[in-house]
């Protein structure tokens, strides 16, 4: 199965036939040209990054590769053999395995049942369980999970472990090409390192690996070559080690993104929020902070530190066990006995970290979502239009009309609607929980621009600066946009320091609790 001729060292082989080759792939959906002639070549033992904004055509290209779509024109080869899958099952038979962001394991079944799912060793209608166990044990050994009991129910495993099971599954079915689609978005730093180690082992075993990710630092760390897509075309490719991040970003967005994190003059004004020793039911354990107009305060920390739980306590979505919350724009009791309605009315707004499950109502229109927190008793389409127009134009939000259902929008534009909701409700305090997670670079840039404008205000024209409290797991983003940063670890928020006094290293130390004796 494996081509022993392929070289173990990465990427530079041009005399050897690529394991995967796609040439001239086009795909139209009605009048929309999703792919306008894209080519891609990945050699055995190479990790090839596929980079591009949302809507650039990455997922369409991968769907063509996996067999979920049939390309209109173009051709594909695997190990030199023509490859024209009619369905994803076809693709799997030919050795193409997709590892998606949303895992596709059967949650209620066991590990071994999942590994052989769809290709079960059978004798007539009967399962050959002995064979199933053997295959599963072998596959698990490849991904470093040899100690995992085979009958563990998948839903009890962590995200990272489930991802490894998916990889094991691909290897068990004889894959030659592995495609990783945003594999690290919900992984901790430790799990990411494990994954990269595994990918390097897979490289050594001559798999051809396509790696799709928004995180350019990851791409620099793990990939050998890259291809950049923009608007359905491949606009550049090269050797990762020789490319500069700025150039790659420029290729992605088609313009010079000199300053991804704009920073105007910000003047810190009056305090708008004070939190003292807030503790929730389980998390957070102890959070104290102060927030002023004119500043962006960031909260860093690893997954599970309790940051989102803190926001939920702050916004009265979860119970506060003890502590005081004082919001100067709302008169009334301290101690956090507000309701979300009072908070919106009093000038506090929140953007949830989970767009799909909490942030937005997907069946409803853009207008409904945007205005949901502040609506008059009688609502006319005219009013809704007028309410949405300024934000659609300013941020901007790419859509056909404000009455379009929001699920038609790209992730980036959906997130902009979630943020526009705060602007429509005219809030003074913005609580942003992972505001740029899972969206394209272009949208990210627009959001950073927006945050900067909100935090600086426009004193000459009477626009007061706002206060922004931002949770993020993406350190460059925090360092780029914030004025002060605090780190949460195991439910406790450490001292908030000025941006000049921290760097990525110190934040990571504090976040993982290795900074001082615990």
């Amino acid at each position: 199965m494996t081509d022993t001729v392929a070289n173990a060292s990465a990427g530079t082989a041009s005399s050897v036939m690529p394991r995967l080759k796609m040439a001239g792939i086009t795909k139209r959906f009605g009048p929309t040209i999703a792919l306008g002639g894209v080519s891609l070549a990945v050699h055995a033992g190479e990790v090839h990054a596929l980079i591009g904004e949302n809507g650039a055509g990455k997922s369409t290209l991968m769907k063509a590769l996996s067999g979920a779509h049939q390309a209109d024109t173009g051709a594909m080869w695997i190990d030199g053999q023509p490859y024209q899958p009619k369905s994803p099952l076809d693709g799997r038979d030919f050795g193409v395995a997709m590892i998606y962001q949303e895992l596709s394991l059967a949650q209620h079944l066991s590990v071994m049942e999942n590994i052989v799912l769809g290709d079960e060793p059978r004798m007539g209608p009967f399962m050959r369980w002995g064979e199933v166990r053997r295959i599963s044990r072998e596959a698990l050994a490849h991904v470093g999970l040899e100690d995992l009991p085979l009958d563990t129910i998948v839903s009890t495993l962590s995200n990272a472990q489930q991802q490894l099971i998916e990889i094991a599954r691909s290897m068990a079915t004889g894959a030659k090409v592995l495609v990783f689609d945003e594999p690290t978005s919900s992984l901790s730093q430790h799990d990411i390192e494990n994954l990269f180690t595994l990918i390097r082992e897979l490289k050594a075993k001559d798999y051809a690996i396509v790696y799709i990710s928004h995180f350019l630092e990851e791409i620099q760390e793990i990939t050998d070559r890259f291809t950049v897509l923009r608007d359905g075309q491949s606009v550049g490719s090269g050797v990762t080690a020789e490319a500069e991040v700025a150039n790659i970003i420029a290729m992605m967005v088609g313009r010079d993104v000199k300053d991804l994190y704009p920073r105007s003059d910000r003047v810190v004004c009056e305090r708008v929020c004070e939190v003292r020793n807030v503790a929730g039911i389980d998390k957070p354990a102890d959070v104290s902070l102060e927030l002023h107009r004119g500043e962006v305060v960031g909260i860093a920390g690893v997954v599970g530190a309790g940051r989102t739980e803190f926001f939920r306590c702050l916004f009265a979505l979860d119970s506060v066990r003890s502590g005081m919350i004082k919001i100067e724009t709302i008169s009334g009791n301290a101690g956090g006995n507000f309701t979300p309605h009072q908070l919106w009315d009093g000038g506090v707004g929140i953007v949830s970290e989970d767009r799909k499950r909490e942030g937005l109502a997907t069946e409803l229109s853009i207008a409904d979502n945007l205005t949901m927190a502040s609506q008059p008793f009688f609502i006319t389409p005219g009013w809704q239009s007028k309410a949405c127009e300024p934000w659609i134009e300013k941020i901007p939000i790419k859509c056909a009309s404000p009455f379009q259902p929001i699920d038609g929008l790209s992730g980036g534009n959906q997130q902009k609607v979630a943020i526009a909701r705060l602007l429509h409700s005219n809030v003074d305090i913005l609580l942003l929980d992972e505001p740029t997670r899972g969206i394209d670079v272009g949208s990210k840039a627009q959001i950073y621009q927006l945050i900067d404008e909100l935090a600086s205000g426009d004193p000459e024209n009477g626009i007061k600066p706002k206060a922004v409290l931002m949770i993020s797991s993406y350190l460059p983003e925090l360092l780029g946009t914030c004025d002060r940063i605090g780190v949460m670890c195991k439910g406790k928020l450490g001292a908030i320091k000025a941006i000049a006094d921290v760097d990525e290293h110190s934040i990571m130390l504090e976040a993982t609790g290795t900074e001082d004796m615990q």
């Binding site: 919106w344 069946e363 409904d368 979502n369």
Partner: protein, 387 residues
């Protein structure tokens, strides 16, 4: 372009189906079908189910469901019959106040609907204590009334007070146990009819008085055609249906409460995040919706001329079918009154059309079932294509 076509198809889908079904029976039935009498009959058949369906639309958009609406209709007819049979001394109240008293009785029926809605809403939201409060209120009324001859008004007032006290005492319930609407209304479906039979004292309740001074009580005329000279106009029940549908439809689209119903049905978490009082919205939705069912119950009473605890068995499913054919999604967040009206009409056109054509009952039933499945399947296709 494709998106737009799909969108129009989705919204116009039920309308196209309506035209198709109507056209089909028009061709097959010819003159027998295409006469005013048949059209009027269809409207008449649609009115009661239609009003209940308007209310059910609200519930389904909010993400809930009601399996007990048929039982509510039955209970309301019983209440109405009992109220109309009330005497004050030796004379019937309805003889003393031939216009006002039936109105009070009708309002009583609607309030019963609202109270049942309050019960369901409280249970769905998890306020078991408050749900119990409603039941307590009802029990107090019945118990006081049964035991002795206290005036009905006093019984009702005491019942409201007792229920109100318990409701208020339960306002700070911290631990709530939300129950799925399916289960709550299933339980009600099982028990409400029993309660109705208890109220009826066993079987049907006949009204002692049908006319006062030679004129029929107006309440009994709601489901009879209006004759203006030679012209036969649709009965008051039909007009009530139309007006109610317009009012509720406007409320759904143009008021904040309507938008909140959609929000809660589409994504409860989002609604809560945006400051919407999800629980209040749900309870209010059930109260309004089953209040509508109360109106339908009043019409059912007019239709039957008596109180019948066994009426409307299976109506709940017709109501749900009408809403679903009209394009609403049982997952919530999608639907509208216009679609429900179309769904109701489609069901009744099929029913009446089959009768006109002389087809056996089972044909109508099978066709209706096929339409329900087709409507939902089309809706699923539309949703999948939109992704």
């Amino acid at each position: 372009m494709n998106q737009k076509v799909l969108k129009i198809a989705g919204q116009a889908g039920p309308l196209i189906a309506l035209i198709f079904v109507f056209g089909l029976f028009a061709i097959l039935g010819g003159g027998d079908f295409c006469q005013w009498g048949t059209m009027n009959d269809i409207l008449m058949l649609s009115a009661i189910v239609g009003i209940a369906a308007v209310g059910a639309t609200l519930i389904i958009i909010s993400g809930g469901i009601d399996l007990s609406v048929g039982c509510t209709l039955a209970a309301v007819t019983i209440i109405l019959a009992r109220l109309l049979n009330l005497k004050s001394g030796d004379t019937y109240l309805v003889e003393q106040y031939p216009v006002l008293w039936p109105l009070c009785a009708a309002i009583g029926g609607i309030v019963l609907g609202g109270a049942i809605g309050l019960l369901i809403g409280a249970a769905v939201v998890g306020h078991i204590g408050r749900a119990a409060a409603v039941i307590l209120g009802g029990l107090v009324i019945v118990w006081l009334r049964d035991g002795n001859s206290m005036p009905l008004v006093v019984c009702i007032l005491l019942g409201i007070v007792a229920g109100g006290i318990l409701w208020y005492l339960n306002r700070v319930t911290i631990k709530k146990t939300p129950l799925p609407p399916f289960i709550v209304t299933l339980g009600l479906w099982a028990s409400l009819r029993g309660a109705a039979k208890w109220m009826a004292g066993g079987s049907a309740v006949y009204t002692d008085i049908d006319e006062v001074d030679g004129t029929a009580i107006w309440l009994n005329n709601l489901m009879r055609d209006i004759k203006v000279g030679d012209l036969i106009l649709p009965m008051p029940g039909v007009w009530i249906w139309i007006v109610l549908a317009i009012v509720i439809g406007l409320m759904l689209t143009y008021t904040r409460f309507g938008r909140h119903i959609y929000a809660v049905g589409s994504n409860e978490n989002t609604a809560r995040l945006c400051g919407i009082n999800v629980e209040k919205t749900k309870i209010l939705t059930y109260v309004v919706a089953i209040g509508c069912a109360g109106i339908a119950g009043v019409l059912r009473f007019s239709w039957l001329g008596m109180g019948d605890p066994t009426t409307d068995m299976g109506t709940e499913l017709l109501v749900i079918a009408a809403v679903v054919i009209g394009g609403a999604s049982l997952n919530g967040g999608v639907g509208g009154i216009g679609g429900t009206i179309i769904g109701t009409l489609i069901i009744m056109i099929v029913y009446k059309g089959c009768t006109v054509l002389g087809l056996e009952n089972f044909v109508q039933e099978i066709v209706t079932g096929a339409i329900i499945v087709a409507a939902v399947a089309l809706d699923q296709v539309r949703h999948r294509k939109a992704e």
